[in-house]
């Protein structure tokens, strides 16, 4: 079965990637500058600048002479990389085999596709969803399909099977990505177009001009027997930006971050995923980096939520220097599918939950919020926290077994140091007093009316963190019932709980 390939080509890629980053420049006469050493030359121009005679390769001074109102902006390789990844992700949602064919170009395997036209239309929609424009061609070989896409100018071009050579015949050899030296030699022979090259005998051509000419001959005939090289989807999606000047205000920063997040979330949505963790990598002025991590309680693609979280994070801990570059890295995860139930308990919104957890973490620190976890051992004060990831809501409300009410112990953290008077035989605590200046709630003082104990607790006698305590339940004059203990090692007294 013959190969069928689609090519998604983003026209004027450096400029399109830059417009994807800064949509406000889309209606201005813009040129992208590439700087090499001390010289700057035009790399790409938009239509209005092109109409005024500015072409790629012109120097900046030439371009400004032709049109003084030209907006010349430097090339942003980070934005181009993000755009290329976005293009590949959009394509990979349509075909299992996708090849990265360089800046702004992707090949898709269409083997076995019933309706090529439907798939191409879907591809154009997906690429538009990530903020790019694609010209599309469909054919049997790489060079042919790239030429078809380049020529299509927005209207998809389909080359039927076996029609590749006749399609390519009128195109100049430069369109076939041939080396300039080879094109020059062939032009000396009077061979200028693909059709003229295709009719030459392959063996003699190879004998005279070498294997490069043979490869070009095969391209001119529309032959391509190399399989596509599969592109592997990265585990982390990123959007990067290099800024022309450093940002030192949070408001300015958000004018940059918000569109970046929109682009990143659009890519996640196209991939059918949501963001579980977002990393910020900030390049600082004049050098250095700062990394921030935002963990979400539930996967989310809500730009508003994520913007708010970044705002809270940076408000609480501003970067230590102005920011000259930024990378957002999203860790994708399958979004939670919540089925609402008429009869089950009320369900919750993953996004709202993620936002509130993150906001609380920023407000009071991540170590103060989470899901309590059991800890093995015997120390009454032991506790642990883990990330709050509640299970999905129940489909129906369960019939609950009635749990009897029991007295609980309010654990005192940290434990309260005490001065305890002991009398009698066997010795018993008879009065207590807090040693240090404690908050009102943590002040214990007075005669002990009832003392019950001691209950000995020993743990870890074989280790450096050995624990040996004698516990007492005591009722004070004020009516409070406390759990107090004596540390048998240091002979100090503490209160570590209230029966409540």
């Amino acid at each position: 079965m013959s190969k069928r390939i689609a090519c998604l080509l983003v026209p004027n890629f450096p400029l399109t990637a830059r417009i994807r980053r800064d949509p406000q420049i889309a209606r201005m006469p813009v040129a992208i500058l590439e700087t090499q050493g001390m010289t700057s030359s035009i790399l790409a121009v938009d239509r209005s600048a092109s109409r005024r005679g500015i072409r790629p390769g012109h120097s900046l001074s030439q371009a400004l002479t032709l049109f003084p109102g030209l907006l010349a902006i430097p090339r942003d390789l980070a934005a181009e990389q993000s755009a290329q990844e976005a293009l590949l992700e959009a394509a990979s949602g349509l075909s299992p085999m996708v090849e990265n064919a360089g800046a702004g170009c992707v090949f898709l395997d269409l083997q076995g596709v019933r309706s090529e036209r439907n798939l191409v239309e879907e591809a154009i929609r997906k690429v538009a969803a990530v903020g790019l424009t694609a010209w599309v061609g469909v054919s049997g070989g790489r060079i042919c399909v790239r030429v078809a896409a380049r020529r299509s100018r927005g209207e998809p071009t389909f080359i039927p099977l076996g029609g590749e050579a006749s399609f390519l015949a009128p195109f100049p050899l430069a369109w076939l990505d041939a080396p300039p030296v080879l094109i020059e030699r062939l032009s000396l022979w009077g061979v200028h177009r693909a059709g003229e090259l295709a009719v030459l005998p392959a063996g003699e051509l190879a004998q005279r001009l070498g294997p490069e000419a043979l490869a070009l001959h095969r391209c001119a005939r529309g032959e391509d027997d190399q399989p596509l090289i599969s592109w592997q989807r990265p585990l982390i999606l990123s959007e990067r930006i290099d800024l022309e000047w450093p940002l030192d205000h949070l408001e300015q920063f958000f004018t940059v971050v918000h569109p970046m997040l929109e682009r990143l979330m659009a890519r996640l949505i196209v991939s059918g995923a949501a963001c579980r963790r977002l990393d910020l990598s900030l390049a600082l002025d004049p050098k250095g980096r700062e990394e921030r991590t935002l963990s979400l309680a539930a996967p989310s693609t809500e730009v508003k939520t994520l913007t708010e979280l970044i705002f809270l994070e940076l408000s609480a801990r501003p970067p230590r220097a102005p920011v000259t570059g930024l990378a957002l890295l999203a860790y994708p995860e399958q979004p939670r599918q919540v089925q609402f139930s008429l009869f089950g308990p009320a369900t919750y919104s993953s996004d709202a939950l993620a936002t509130v957890i993150a906001r609380l973490s920023v407000l009071m620190g991540a170590h103060r919020i989470g899901s309590p976890r059991r800890v093995d051992g015997h120390r009454p004060e032991r506790h642990a926290l883990s990330s709050y990831v509640p299970p999905l809501p129940l489909r129906t409300s369960p019939l609950l077994e009635r749990k009897p009410l029991v007295a609980a112990i309010r654990v005192l953290r940290p434990k309260i140091p005490l001065q305890v008077q002991i009398e009698g035989s066997p010795p018993q605590p008879v009065s207590v007093k807090t040693r240090n200046e404690e908050p009102v709630f943590r002040r214990l003082s007075g005669k002990i009316l009832v003392a019950s104990g001691p209950w000995r607790l020993e743990e870890g006698w074989w280790s450096d963190e050995a624990l040996a305590r004698d516990y007492w339940d005591v009722q004070l004059q004020d009516g409070g019932i406390y759990r107090i203990f004596q540390d048998l090692g240091k002979k100090h007294w503490f209160a570590d709980g209230i029966y409540d």
């Binding site: 308990p345 919750y348 509130v356 609380l360 309590p372 009410l405 309010r410 953290r413 009102v440």
Partner: protein, 247 residues
Amino acid sequence: MSTYPFSSNPFPKPPPFPGLGVITGSELLRRQERRSTWVTHIPLLDRFEEGGLPRGILIEISGKISSGRFAMDLAVLSAATRAGELAAFIDLGSHLDPQAADALGIDLTRLLWVRPSEAKEAAHSAEMILNSGFSLVVLDLPERPRPGFNEGVWIRLSRAARDQKAVLWVSTLIPLTGSAADLTVRADRSRPLWAGDRNAPKLLMGLSVDLSIKRRRGTRRELSGKIFLPMAKDIIDVKAHCLSAGS
């Protein structure tokens, strides 16, 4: 051949779509109403509310140290999480013992434990959590808030609970919420029950608490009564064993 039993209507209307699990609209509404109330498993409170707490209210429970407030906080958390609801415990002072909470039947995976450092932070957290879709928020304030705490926050929290159809359970040392509370529960000084004769070693068996419940809004009902909070049986068993071994 079977015949219908003699009745005024020998041909009663069969249920719609028998065997398919399809129910009528009126039955659906009845089930929704049942769902909108919520059993706390605190006997006096459930009796007062005739079956369970309505959603969208602020309940204040106040009482001094050792008045059983904390046990009731945990009881409502247990009832909510076992019913599959999301619950948050805003624990000013970090008093929760996860092991004890688990033993009381609290589903720890559904419980969000928030440990603020001051009352203002606790109130702010409660508002955020209420607005994010939690069914129950328990706000435990073990001491009187410091001067400067905005008393008006209770009105805002009450409104948030009503809008979100959530229950905000505020547990305080002294009454704080004023007119913002829909229901107030006063836990008066408890009496501990000690086992053991005059000279024999004592053993704490539980706390007896006087509760009085008042409704602030709508009908001005009141209900008072006692509840007994026994110590967990396994703790009593261990202590009794130690005492007998010691004696």
